[in-house]
Symmetry: C2
Subunit: 509 residues, 2 copies
């Protein structure tokens, strides 16, 4: 056996192992999807046991010592020489994933897992009772454990780097902070200008009877039109919409219908379809390998935000779809002019709840969370002072304040489960979406003209070529830079927001 043959054999073993792990993680994913869409009410306890057991089996397999040996053999080999080649990208990323999993002491992993379960229960209770002090000791311990996690993983400058890296591999706190600070500087005055505008949409046009079966039919049609493939996917109902799936040709969107409000289900369906189109565009023959996986949560979110906001809430999208919407929801929309409908689905106003916020203010919700969790990790803010800091920032950035912690610092589940470093990926998604959308327009010409004709597959195929099929060949920031020609920045997003909402709200240019 030559040296090259031997390396290839080791790489093959590594790939087979990763594909075996994927058979288990995709099964785990089905258990999760089923839990959230189909599981009978009494089945929850046993499902938790199944998922926890399988998680153990998966973890053991992922951290098997032979994987470390294979990776060590391949590390400086010719196969890994080009980190952007298929084999090179697989090896580099499997190494990174393996290191993250094996660097953490078992005791720490278990304590975080236990505290997460406890934390989510306690969070539900504390939120219900508007009782932050009840939640506080647990969150303090969680922050402490996440600092230990960061120390175990290791980092150059910021402990937060090590946490952020879990969701956005390769991203640096400094870069993210810089882009988000730039965004904040221009977003805060933009939001204030809009809040001061006298123009207001008639929201009542969206709050009337939209029969659920018709909503489903219309949502499915729109989803199919933008390029989600139902031969390899599904759309179901759940409480908190997500995009799941259980294999390379099995991508599952979920949504939630409100009979008296159209946008809820419609835009969440388009959002999840954006995630789903990304998943469907990954190279199926590399499923389970890094070159067949999504690169980061930020890029994932860029896809969902693009289809939800840049496309789904755009004027040309509705030039195409509004006649169909009027025909479908004749009673509700038959006499509503497109202008009124368009303005209503693009209502912007400072509000308390992140998940219900609009395209413009959304990023300020994220900024607040990012700045606060960064300060917590850096010990510049104590958990005891978190509610006051939260409220101060809402006053400063959005000009509002929550009368309760339930609608304030307790509103999100993330921290209770130890997801610190997750929030910024939402805004990274918006930043990347804006940059990619501009690049697509440079490549494809007038996107508005395409959308007006109901032609969305050009954009999907452009994304497929430049983003989806790339898997994890390049780290997220590098991938986006290569495709757009510019580094991460707030410029494109601000151009988009000013360009869209300036005219709508009659703002000075």
């Amino acid at each position: 056996m030559t040296m090259t043959d031997k390396l290839q054999a080791t790489y093959d073993k590594l790939c087979n192992h990763a594909r075996e792990v994927a058979l288990l993680t995709s099964t785990q994913s089905l258990l999760g999807w089923d839990e959230r869409t189909k599981l009978p009410p009494a089945g929850g306890d046993y499902r938790a046991q199944q998922m926890s057991y399988l998680a153990g089996v998966i973890h053991k397999k992922q951290t098997a010592p032979e994987v470390g040996e294979w990776l060590a053999e391949l590390a400086d080999s010719s196969l890994a020489a080009d980190p952007h080649s298929e084999a090179g990208a697989d090896i580099v990323n499997l190494r990174r994933d393996y290191d993250r999993k094996t660097k953490l002491p078992q005791a720490l992993v278990e304590e975080i897992a236990k505290l997460s379960v406890l934390g989510q229960q306690l969070w539900v209770e504390a939120r219900k009772a508007n009782d932050f002090p009840r939640f506080r000791p647990l969150l303090e311990r969680m922050v402490e454990l996440k600092r230990q996690e960061a120390a175990a993983i290791g980092y150059d400058k910021e402990p937060y780097d090590a946490l952020l890296d879990e969701y956005e591999p390769g991203a640096k706190t400094a870069d993210v902070a810089c882009a988000l600070a730039g965004l904040r500087e221009q977003l805060v005055p933009l939001v204030a200008e809009i809040a001061a505008s006298e123009r207001r949409p008639k929201l009542s046009v969206l709050k009337r009877g939209f029969p659920i079966d018709l909503q489903e039919k219309f949502g499915r049609h729109a989803t199919e039109s933008i390029g989600f493939d139902f031969k390899s996917g599904r759309l179901d109902v759940t409480d908190h919409p997500f995009c799941g799936g259980a294999g390379p040709h099995d991508v599952r969107l979920t949504t939630r219908y409100d009979e008296d409000f159209l946008p809820g289900a419609l835009f969440s369906t388009l959002h999840e379809a954006g995630h789903g189109i990304y998943e469907q565009g990954l190279p199926a023959d590399r499923y389970g390998l890094p070159t067949g996986e999504a690169v980061s949560l930020g890029i994932h979110e860029s896809q969902s935000r693009m289809w939800e906001n840049f496309v789904g809430r755009s004027w040309p999208f509705w030039e195409h779809f509004y006649p169909q919407a009027q025909a479908t929801f004749r009673d509700a929309l038959g006499t509503v002019p497109l202008d009124d409908f368009y303005f209503a689905i693009n209502d912007v106003r400072p509000s308390l709840i992140r998940t219900e916020s609009d395209e413009v203010t959304y990023n300020l919700h994220i900024l607040i969370r990012f700045e606060l969790e960064l300060a917590l990790v850096n010990d510049q803010l104590q958990v005891a002072d978190l509610p006051a800091a939260w409220n101060a920032k809402y006053r400063e950035y959005l000009g509002i304040e929550s009368p309760t912690d339930s609608d304030g610092v307790l509103q999100d589940v993330h921290w209770s489960g130890g997801a610190i470093g997750y929030f910024p990926t939402y805004s990274l998604g918006n930043l990347y979406a804006a940059q990619l959308f501009e690049a697509a327009a440079r490549n494809l010409g007038d996107l508005n003209a395409l959308f007006r004709r109901g032609e969305f597959l050009s954009l999907r195929d452009w994304l497929r070529k430049h983003i989806h099929t790339q898997g994890r060949r390049y780290p997220a920031a590098e991938l986006a830079h290569r495709v757009t020609g510019v580094p991460l920045s707030h410029d494109a997003l601000l151009r988009h927001l000013r360009g869209k909402f300036g005219p709508l709200y009659g703002l000075a240019i």
Copy 2:
């Protein structure tokens, strides 16, 4: 540690192991349910990989050498002394299951598994092309391998015993053959009498528009009325109805709707609900252990047949439900008298296809398959002669003959997948159902009066107490004997059929 403590510790390890296996088998079961009800069309290949991988993981765990060591330690211990005690039944049955799995040489297991996959594909093609000779070599090899399987498992008298035992643990060919032969002797003339009767139901009353959403609503209501618990279960649509599930409180019925024919979905739903009610009645806290498992396919089928036929096709059932059915399906049934409806759902006539046959002729379809597969295994019949033997028996028992092998010897999937020894459990189900129904009537008084009032839970609870909660404490035949007071025989079923169909068809008593 005392001897007793040590035994108890070993038994606990054995139980924990069995419960871990159940976490995996129930996950496998969800993969299967999902495949048949929800999986996107393009997801099939990957699902097959997931299921095959998990099957390997499960098999390895089930046949782990330490299980054999624990079982050896417990075999003649005080814990196993009473095979009907909780621990005793667990040990005896786990021993039996372990032996079946470990006695087979790996090469044989793999060849049968491969041949099954191939066989099912080839069967589909051969059936479509009405080409038995194309299927013949594979079936010859399968019979040969099943003989090898029987030899590896071991048996006292008949190799068929070893195959039957897989589906009906503890059952003996001689007993089954005796009961079925007794049944045949009286059933053949009964079917001939009915075929000769001039009375015929108007089948057209069932072949009209029954909107599917109303069928679902009505089926769900009836299913709930007989005691299936939707908090611990579901009802979905599939191609070939089955009862699945993924945990002790997660039992999933499936059905298939035909807009122009009511009984198809309705009785298949009641049938699957019978299986589901059994599953829901097993001791949830013993899930994964023999004392928490169904005892045999025959007893399982007795539950489905009882609710489908003995209850669901009975006169008092429809005295209760028919007014609701008429209100639900006003266009189709509004002017149809109950007598006509009742006669139509109890139409009996010799026909070619087992799965579409009625309560009376069904057992003759089974008898034919049982007699033929027994002869094959005993080398008293060659596969080459199977079509002719099949046709001869259909002529003799049912007075009809199939013009094609597709509707004859090729109609069932079972043999192509190596399921030899499975067919008789269908008729065992009917025999046990009749015996249990008589015993229930002796215990509960006038069942007809209960049903007429819509009171079905007394019967369910009686079955729960005497059958469901027993798990595998007693082998099927012993359990039925204990509950009914009589050994397996055809008497009760014949009484039921004569008692019900004699009057309907105006037969001499």
